[in-house]
Structure formats: structure tokens, C-alpha cells
Subunit: 337 residues, 3 copies
């Protein structure tokens, strides 16, 4: 990439303070800025870096009042974070070279429907009665089962396994070694204390614009479908059990576990290592803090929950503070007695 | 599938109330019942669905006293859940078409012993001195190391990796991208603070009727074997460290971690995200609640444990309730003073 | 293996008590010792096994004062654990037969630089502009992206995926189905509540002597690099988010999660299932206990932290003990009132 600061400002509809004729050749975080790179300042607590950075240009808020002189050129915009993200996206679009075609050492069963401009990498296998939509990339060493339907403009990274009967929409990204459609964990206890597997006859349905992280597992339903609705974003190493439904535009961070048959509302945020018990209903716009353990359904939308068993997060933080003061409390009781 | 309600009742040794000549073509959960489908009612708290369902037939307990009229046909049995599970299993047996043969793009080292009616999928690799028992399916993109012995009627799903020297019994199911036999996490600290890997020379032994979930990891022993005993059921993303032994018919839910050399008894239940420290012995029939953290050996069989550090679950719940009342307690102390 | 006890004692610079002419043919834990095997006793709490073991020889401390007669032959050394580890390593070096060569069904893009004595297994794929150093083993079914550089003497186990632009040093071991360089979990919230992916343009840099466990995920940086420094040891199912830095010689146990942009110091120990929030700095030599949740930066080196939110571990254990006494406390208050 090689653009002038002025050219970038034009793309971002920003105004330049300083030398707009300088060339930009890369991106950096502001504290790691190098000559030739562009960075951004969004969080005011990092403002001190602005006066020290070696970046050639920094995207800042047009409302920023400088506290001292800067050596870098500024591009002033409404929202520096959004502007920088747009710049990264433009760069990615310009530089991404999408491969197309079917690599020689892949294997595709007879009768699979292949869209236009698809890519199928080495050692990928697509089983019978499946279909792949236009512009979708099936990278090397992906396994796609029978009766799987994948939409347009999807990216399936190496090592992903998609079991039989899975339905995937458009613009879906699945990262490496994620497993979609493995059997739900259902075993009926027998009279002698052993278990007998309950057949898992359902499937997984993933709607449009979903992103799924590396090594995440999403189990098929016992009957019916496990649903991942439009726009859901799931991080790495997340467990989604059988018959779960994740509502549209919900984001789930790494190592979260969601037990069987729970329904998560739309626009929820679930932070890392949280857990949700089975058969619960979580209201839309619920925010679940890191490590929280949800043991009851959440009816009121928009709450922030923390702790285990989870409660209102402000209440949880108050109790955590009181736990830290327990030694003092025990001392007071002793004195009173 | 197309059977009459009467035919299904005969299979389940149940009695029919209503029109037994109707045709059944699928399964549904009772709340999602559609014309042509059969469902079941086991948990009394869902009884209201029975009066609303559009399912053609519902399997119910012969002891159920109807509170109002039903439009669906009933099949009355001793245990509706067990009956429905049997029905699903019959259906799966009838419809599953097991493939056999060695796919053209697989790779099998010279001298590997292959049983009768096995299946080896595309891009699967079986290394030297290994053996595969009769009727076992090695799906596409499975890696099997050297000196690995797999019994009869096993299903190894795509992407599974089985390291050298692993021994696997009969009727074992391993889901995609699980890893069996990776090195135990053993590193000897050196005088300069760095680590030196301790060779992991043992193996993993998996007995009959074991089921292992997607992306689960089971490490080989440093010396000797990591044992997964008969009938154990393990969910997704579970970590079993080196030299662990899981007792027969124990079930382990998703994201549980069991540290090195711990021995888990028979018939235990370990719920999601629980953790067990190293070098512990857990008595048979112990129930470990979700998120519980076990830090000491458990000697008395049949206990239910919760919390971290784990204690008797009733005690734990009592303390959780008291923690919720801490603000009140601090207020009382203030008043007393 | 077949050596006399005397020969082994010579290797370990130890002295023999008992019959040094006996033959050793294997290794065992002391409690599982069999005729022909050698074991060791390091932890005094297992001393009773020494008097019962059927092992032919046991490596013990030269400072051990026997409490009763032993039937096994003893090799007395300065540090039995270190000596036994050395013995295992010698054995592994003698017996390991490293394969070399490019297997017939692998795929390597034109122009990839291949060092001397490398191994590339079946169905492994190496993409363009990458390089593999001397004596490195790329096992079967590994995916290596574009512009990936792997040093000398590395072992990459089956099913590992290494995304574009990753840099890996020498003597690095990566276990099966680990994913290196997947996209960081960065999604910019839009005005309508949906998310738009932030391009992840950075990479992962792994330095020398690093070991990475099965099914572990390490995300690429948004910009710049996610760094895994020299000598770091990472267990199975660990999540390392984008822009994290793990300091040299730090060890991380299974199921730990480290959130975006956190910097972990050198020589830290992080026990199983711990979690570290984003944008934190953890001082060198910090010990983080199992399940601890770190929510603030740690400035003072060498502390041991436990609990969630984490605090000094001794303080945490004190509070845990007081929580167990809460019922008693509530009773006392009732009595006082």
C-alpha cells in the first residue's frame, strides 16, 4: 500500500492538520507507530502516546483539543475508531487475492452442486447431496458431510468439519478446526447405571453473516435444529450444545459454554468463560460478564449479570467487595461478643 | 419413515388411545409437533403442551390422568422417555446406511491389519503396525499413528487424531477433531528458570462403549496408561490430562478439565466447566455440579459436590444464599455497634 | 532397551546399593513397578511404596535414610526426579526414529523453501512463499498458509493449522489440531446493533523452544504481532487472543484464557482454567492459581494470586475459609440481637 495522507483523508472524509503529502505504507498501534505508518487515537487514556508516536499520521477525533505540539500529521474525523476500521477494510478489500477453482487433490462426490467462482482447496472433501454457493471458499482439508448446504460468499478455513444435514447461509466465516453438527451429548441412563446414546437426528442451521471461531463446537439438535441466527459472532473454543438457539447479533467470547436447549436472545453480549445452564431463556440485550454462571432464565431485557450463581452485576460487585471485608467483619463480631 | 400409530405402539408394547390408523412420518419435540409427527411427554411440567400440540401422536405415561381433552392420539407406555429413545434408535438403525470400503484417496501404511466391512474415508491416514477391527468406520481426514489398535464397530469422525500406541476397544465413538494421545504437559523446571520437556512414553487406553466429544483432548501417560474405562461418555472440549483414569460408566460434560494422575470413580457425573486438580481420587457415584472445582480427594461415594473449593452441594448452596445476604449482615453489625 | 542397573547408574553418576548386575527393560511409576522396570522416588510422601515395589531398581536421593529393608536395588543420586527425567530423555533419543522425506500424497506449492532432512506427511499442504527449516517434521494433515516461516528441528503434529504470515522459531512443538493465526475476535458495533468485522492484518510470532498443546488457539494480531516468547509452554485447549504477548519461559496449563492485548511477564505460572481479562500487564514470576480470574494488572513480580476477582492467594484462602464459616456468623449475629 502506498497512499498520501491527503488521499486517505479524502477516503475517510476527514481534514488534515500537518503535512498531507507524506506517504503511508502500513498500519500500527499508536504506541508502536513507525515512520510510514498510520495509527489512530480513540480512547482518551492513551492520548499521551499521540505526543510521542513515530507514526507518520494519526487519525483523531475532530473534537480533540491538543495539550501540546505533535510531530505527526493528524487526520481529524467524527469517530477515529470507525474511520480506522473503514481504512483497514478498504485495505483488506484491495489486497485480498481470493483464489478460485478446484484444487487437484480435493475430492467432491458426484452430484454436489457447485456455484460460480468457488474455491475448493487441497484435501478438502465434499460428500453427496451437498451444495456450495457462489464465491464461497472451502479451504484445504475441510470436511463437508452429506446434505450440507452452504450459501454464497462464505469462507470455511482449513480443518473445519461440517456434519451431515447442516444448513449455512451467506457471508458466513468459520475458522479452523471448528466442528459443526457433532452429536448432542444425550445418553439415557439404563437400569444398571450404564448409558445408552440417544440418537441425535436433528441438524444445525447457521444464518447469514455469522462468524465462528477456531476449535468451537456446535452440536446438532436431538430433533429439530440448533439455530445460530443472523449476525451472531462466536469466538474460539466455545461450546454450543444441542437444541440451543443464539439470537440475532449476539456476540459470544472465547471458552463460553451454553448447555442444551437454552435460548439466548438477540443483541446479547456474553464475555469469556461464562457458562449458561440448560433449558433457560435469556432475554434480549442481556450482558453476561466474564466467568458469570447463569442458572436461571433472565426475563427482563438489557440487564448486566455477573457472578455465579449470576445476579445483577452491581449487586455481585458489592458482594465481592463485602467478601473482601469478611476478616474485618469476623473481628467486629468477636469484639462485640 | 412411514408407520401407523398402531405399528409403533406394537414396537413399544404400548396401548393406543385415539386413532391408531394414522401415519407417522417424523419426530418432533411436543411444543413443535406437526401433523405426521410423533412426540413424547415425560416431564409433567410440559403437560400443557399435550393439549395444544399438532403432533399426530404423543407417547405418554400409562399413569397420566388427562386434565382435559386431547386432539392427538396417545400411545401409553411405562416410561415415555425410554420408549421414545427406543423409537429413535429403531429409526436410526433402519435409516443409517453405513458405507464400507477404502476410499481411493486415503493412505494406509503397508502391513496395517484391516478387519471385515471397514470403511476408510478420503484423506484418512493409517500408519504402520496398526489394526482396525471389523465394521469400524474411519471417516475422512482421520490420522491414526503407529501401533494403534482399534476394535470392532467403532466410528471415528473426520479430523480425529489418534497418536501412536493408543488402544481402543469396541463400539467406541470419537467425534471430530478430538485428539487422543498427545503429550502430557510435563516440563521439568531447570536451574535457570526454563523448562525441559519430560518425555511422555506412555499411551492412552480406551475401553468398550466409550463416546468422546468433538475437540476433546486426552493426553498419553508419562509412563503407563491414561485409562478411559468401559461405558464412559465424554462431551466436547473436555481436557483429560496424562495418567488420569476415568472409571466405568462415568459421564463428563463439556469444558470439564481433569488434571494429571487423578482417578475418577465409576458411575460419577461431572457437569459442565467443572475442574479437578491433580493427583486426586474421586469416589464412585460422586456428582460434581457445574463449575465446581475439586481440590481434595473424595472418599465417601455418592456425594453431590458444588462450589470452589468444592464442598457438599447443599452446604455450598446455603453459603451462596448467605453471601447474597451479606449487605444485610454488614448493616446489622453497624446497627449493633 | 536392555541395560544393567550399573550401566544406568554410570549414566546418572549415581551409586548402587544392591545387585547392580540386574537387567532393566522398562520404566514404571513406583506403585506400578514390575520386575525388569526402573522407577524413582522423589516425593517423601510416597516412601512407603519403596518398601513394597516390585520394580527391579529405584532411583532415590542419596540423602534418603531407609526406614526398613528394601528388596529392590537402589541408585542413589542428588535429585531422583531430575535423574529419572534424564534417563527418559536418553531413552527417547535412542529409540525415536525420525522419518524424513516428502510423502507421496502431500501438496507443496511451487517455490516453498524446504530445508535439509525435513519430513512432510500424507495430506499435508504447504502454501506459497513459505519455508521449512532443517530437520523439521510436518506430520500428516497439517495445513500451512502463505508466507509462513518455520525454523529448524520443529515438530508439527497432525491436523495443526498455521494461518498466513505466521513466524515460528526453532525447536518448537505444536500438538494436533492446534490453530495458530486465526482472526482475532474484533467486531465493531454498528448503529443498528449489528457487528462489522475489523480486519485482522497482523500475525503470530512464536520464538524458540515453545511447546503448544492440542486444540489450543492463538489468534493473529489486529495489527502488529501476537508474541509467544522463548521457552513458553502451553497446554491443551488454551485460548490466546489477538495482540497478547506471553513472556519467555512462562507455563500455561489447560483451558486457560487470555484476552486481547494482555502482556504476561516472563517466568509466570498460570494454572488450569484461569482467565485473564484484556489489556492487562502481568509482572514476571507471577503465579496464578487454578481457576483464578485476573481483572487488574499485576505490578509487583513474584506474587501468588487466587480467586475471582483475583487477590493475594493467602488472602483468598482466608476469605474462602471465612465463607465456609458464614452460617456460624449469621447464628452469632442472631444470638447477639
Amino acid at each position: 500500500m502506498k497512499f498520501t495522507v491527503d488521499q486517505i483523508a479524502t477516503i475517510l472524509q476527514g481534514t488534515v492538520t500537518g503535512d498531507g503529502s507524506l506517504f503511508i505504507t502500513g498500519f500500527d498501534k499508536i504506541e508502536e507507530g513507525k515512520p510510514g505508518s498510520i495509527s489512530f487515537l480513540s480512547n482518551p487514556k492513551y492520548e499521551s502516546y499521540l505526543y510521542e508516536t513515530n507514526a507518520t499520521a494519526v487519525i483523531v477525533s475532530k473534537d480533540l483539543a491538543l495539550k501540546q505540539a505533535v510531530k505527526t500529521t493528524l487526520i481529524c474525523v467524527d469517530d477515529p475508531y470507525v474511520a480506522f476500521t473503514i481504512l483497514l477494510q478498504k485495505y483488506q478489500e484491495m489486497t485480498a487475492e481470493r483464489e478460485t477453482g478446484i484444487q487437484s487433490q480435493s475430492a467432491i462426490a458426484a452430484g454436489v452442486k457447485l456455484g460460480k467462482s468457488i474455491f475448493v482447496g487441497q484435501f478438502a472433501f465434499i460428500n453427496s447431496n451437498s451444495s456450495i454457493g457462489d464465491n464461497t471458499s472451502i479451504h484445504d482439508r475441510v470436511s463437508i458431510g452429506k446434505n450440507v448446504h452452504i450459501g454464497e460468499n462464505c469462507i470455511i478455513y482449513p480443518g473445519v468439519v461440517i456434519y451431515n444435514d447442516t444448513i449455512i447461509g451467506n457471508h458466513v466465516v468459520i475458522h479452523s478446526n471448528a466442528v459443526i453438527g457433532s452429536d448432542g451429548f444425550g445418553h439415557a441412563p439404563q437400569a444398571d447405571g450404564s448409558f445408552k446414546a440417544i440418537p441425535q437426528l436433528g441438524n444445525v442451521v447457521i444464518e447469514d453473516n455469522v462468524s465462528i471461531g477456531a476449535n468451537t463446537t456446535i452440536d446438532r439438535a436431538t430433533m429439530g435444529s440448533t439455530f445460530i441466527r443472523t449476525g451472531v459472532k462466536i469466538d474460539n473454543l466455545v461450546q454450543i450444545a444441542h437444541n440451543v438457539e443464539i439470537g440475532a447479533h449476539t456476540a459470544i467470547a472465547s471458552q463460553v459454554g451454553i448447555s442444551g436447549s437454552s435460548k439466548i436472545g438477540e443483541y446479547c453480549l456474553i464475555a469469556g468463560q461464562a457458562g449458561i445452564a440448560g433449558h433457560l431463556v435469556i432475554a434480549p440485550k442481556t450482558i453476561i460478564m466474564g466467568r458469570a454462571g447463569i442458572t436461571k432464565s433472565v426475563k427482563l431485557p438489557g440487564q448486566t449479570l455477573g457472578g455465579y450463581p449470576a445476579m445483577n452485576n452491581a449487586e455481585y460487585l458489592k458482594r465481592s467487595a463485602l467478601i473482601r471485608r469478611l476478616p474485618e467483619l469476623f473481628d467486629q463480631i468477636k469484639n462485640i461478643k
